[in-house]
């Protein structure tokens, strides 16, 4: 016999599972290519960047294809999940009206869906790394930890955005523009070394900068991530996550009347 607390945890996990499954199935059923689409976009982008920056602008970064693909996959998770989280409350009106439904699970489900897409793309990335003769080794064991940190970043951002969009319906448009700016402020297709030294501290305020650097240290250089630069991100997540959850919970009291 399960205790009430256990029952609640089981139910929460079941709910998360079924909501994530719903997202995956919808994506899978909408087109023949299904989940592959989530790979095609970054691969096409990769091709563009490789062509432009190898042949036209000549950026010199070692293992450039792996370097850019890592950046694109990490970025895609952030971008897709935050955009999707923005619409998740309005898109699930019936669930929100359901008595006892934990509304705060919706942004989490979106973030976890992003995580799964990222994980599904990893074999392709590993293929690139092998072809690029990157230094794959024991450092890969750190990968889940980095994914966990990124999950925290995405969930915290999703809580804030999902709530904001109920109050202000143009959040999604504004977010699209902001993400575009942030994309160029993140070293997806260029190297951090290109940022002038005097701006680098300012630049690293973008949590995606140390995070992405960490991913590359693990995947391409075969090193453990530099904890000194990751620590602020971890602290940020630990502070922002409960805070954004609180804000969301407070706002969720009024969701039903506003959607």
């Amino acid at each position: 016999m399960m205790s009430l607390g256990d029952q609640r945890v089981v139910h929460y996990l079941d709910l998360l599972w079924v909501l994530v499954g719903r997202e995956m199935k919808i994506l899978y059923k909408r087109s023949v290519m299904g989940v592959l689409w989530t790979l095609i976009t970054p691969l096409l982008q990769l091709l563009t960047f490789v062509l432009i920056f190898r042949l036209v602008l000549a950026i010199e970064v070692e293992h450039y294809a792996s370097y850019v693909l890592t950046g694109l996959l990490v970025w895609q998770w952030l971008q897709k999940s935050t955009l999707q989280a923005t619409g998740t409350i309005i898109g699930n009106r019936a669930l929100i009206r359901q008595p006892g439904f934990p509304v705060s699970i919706l942004p989490v489900a979106v973030a976890v869906t992003g995580l799964i897409h990222f994980a599904l793309a990893l074999p392709v990335l590993l293929g690139f790394l092998i072809v690029d003769q990157a230094d794959l080794g024991m450092a890969l064991a750190w990968l889940p930890l980095l994914m966990l940190i990124q999950l925290g970043v995405v969930v915290a951002a999703s809580y804030l955005l999902a709530g904001l969009n109920v109050a202000f319906r143009d959040t999604q448009h504004i977010l699209t523009s902001l993400l575009q700016v942030l994309f160029y402020l993140t070293p997806v297709f260029y190297s951090v070394e290109r940022i002038p030294a005097e701006y680098r501290d300012l630049y690293a305020l973008n949590p995606m900068v140390p995070l992405l650097t960490g991913y590359r240290q693990i995947l391409i250089e075969g090193q453990p991530p530099s904890w000194g630069s990751l620590l602020p991100v971890v602290v940020l997540v630990l502070v922002l996550l409960p805070l954004s959850y609180r804000v969301f919970e407070r706002q969720s009291q009024r969701f039903v009347e506003e959607i």
Binding site: Q7, V10, H11, D14, L15, W17, V18, L19, G21, R22, K25, I26, K29, R30, N92, R93, A94, L95, I96, R97, Q98, P99, G100, F101, L164, A167, F168, R169, D170, T171, I174, Q253, R254, F255, V256, E257, E258
Partner: protein, 409 residues
């Protein structure tokens, strides 16, 4: 007590706008107070209790706060005043089938909605067969929900909701689910839940539904409880107010003669806003019958502008004292707008009324019964002749038999 509501109050932000606010506007008007003066109480000073196995009816017009009340009891949203306490799992029959994803199959949606309604995955798996059998869609269960008719979707939604072991069930106008056979199945299921101790709150704007199903009723008007008690009493007071509202809306007009030659005089034997008009009422075969004969009532009407699914009502009342012997209305089934001229027909296969003088009263009402568009009271006479002349209003075919010598069975 399964549900206890104490001094509940909910305030809505006023000045509802046509479209949701945007962040851009907000940033541009930074620092200006946006608090609009039009805040209003959607609910105020509402208190009641519902016991295990009790069914409470909540009646009121659109916008009276009925749905808001159900939401607060379901723990959706927060009250500004007072509190709600519920015991056990709260289930809901709100917008049935609204949460389904069209691209997923019925089975996949069943799992999503079942788990969202509070069951674990394993519990849903154990109930799938029962739910499908109840919804009568075993064959279609692995097809995408977008191929379902709206009736199938509602049936599936209903089946899921009543198989989640609720201890409190919130119902919003559920009787529009599917055909008559399915409706009676739903009713049976609701009664079974009730006898298992589930407390049920039924929201409706139909007095018949409330009076026919509930143990107790409350009447909400503009967010406040106007009346609470036995459903017959509450619905009677609700109808009374409807009559008052109709009276208020009845315009002045010179007496006129209807197509069948009857005199119609406003506020005397004719009431209503006249947004729809009854032009003619014909009784077939004629206005004089013997007990047990068939009667057809044809109502010719006209509307000036389209009216959303109004209700037709026919009653037969005794001429001497106005006692209502029969009262029949079109239900949810007639969800059809009136746009033009037309005829509504009520066929009674047999009418077993005792002999005497009666009137056929005919009306067209607003969907939510708030007031009458046109109502003719004691205009069309009906004479029943022959048959037994005793007390009472019924004269069914009958036979007496007398047996002696055998012990009573």
């Amino acid at each position: 007590m399964s549900v206890s509501v104490q001094n509940l109050g909910k305030r809505f932000r006023g000045g509802r706008r046509d479209r949701p606010p945007t962040l851009k506007e907000r940033l541009l008007t930074w620092g200006h107070s946006r608090r609009s003066p039009g805040d209003f109480w959607a609910l105020r000073h509402v208190s009641f209790e519902v016991a295990d196995g009790e069914m409470l009816g909540i009646i009121g017009q659109n916008g009276a706060g009925k749905s808001t009340l159900l939401q607060l009891i379901g723990g959706v949203g927060r009250a500004d005043e007072g509190r709600v306490r519920t015991q056990g799992k709260v289930g809901a029959l709100l917008d049935l089938g609204a949460g389904f994803s069209p691209d997923l199959t019925g089975r996949e949606n069943l799992f999503v909605m079942g788990i969202a309604a509070g069951l674990t995955r394993r519990q849903v798996a154990a109930r799938v067969d029962r739910i499908l059998a109840f919804a009568e869609i075993e064959q279609a269960i692995d097809n995408p929900v977008r191929t379902y008719s709206s009736g199938m979707q509602m049936r599936l939604g209903f089946a899921i909701a009543v198989h989640t072991d609720p201890q409190v069930l919130l119902v919003d106008e559920f009787l529009s689910v599917g055909d008559l056979a399915f409706q009676s199945k739903c009713l049976e299921r609701i009664r079974a839940l009730k006898s298992d101790g589930c407390a049920i709150l039924l929201v409706s704007h139909s007095p018949e539904q409330i009076a026919g199903l509930c143990d107790r009723a409350i009447w909400l008007r503009q967010g406040e409880v106007v009346s609470e008690g036995p459903p017959e009493m509450v619905t009677q007071r609700y109808r009374e107010e409807m009559r008052q509202e109709t009276k208020r809306r009845t315009p002045q007009r010179a007496p006129e003669r209807s197509a069948s030659g009857a005199m119609l005089e406003m506020e005397h034997n004719r009431f209503g806003s006249l947004e729809a008009e009854i032009l003619e009422v014909r009784l077939h075969p004629c206005g004089s019958l013997e007990p047990g004969e068939a009667l057809r009532i044809e109502i010719g009407f006209r509307v000036d502008r389209p009216l959303p699914s109004p209700r037709f009502n026919v009653s037969i009342s005794r001429a001497a004292d106005g006692f209502i012997c029969l009262d029949l209305s079109t239900g949810h089934a007639s969800e059809q707008a009136l746009i033009d001229n037309g005829t509504a027909v009520l066929s009674l296969q047999r009418l077993d009324l005792a002999s005497g003088a009666y009137f056929v009263n005919v009306g067209i009402f607003r969907t939510d019964w708030r007031y009458a568009y046109d109502y003719h009271w004691h205009v069309y006479p009906l004479q029943i002749t022959g048959g037994s002349a005793g007390e009472g209003v019924l004269a069914p075919p009958f036979a007496w038999q007398l047996e002696q010598g055998a012990p009573p069975r």
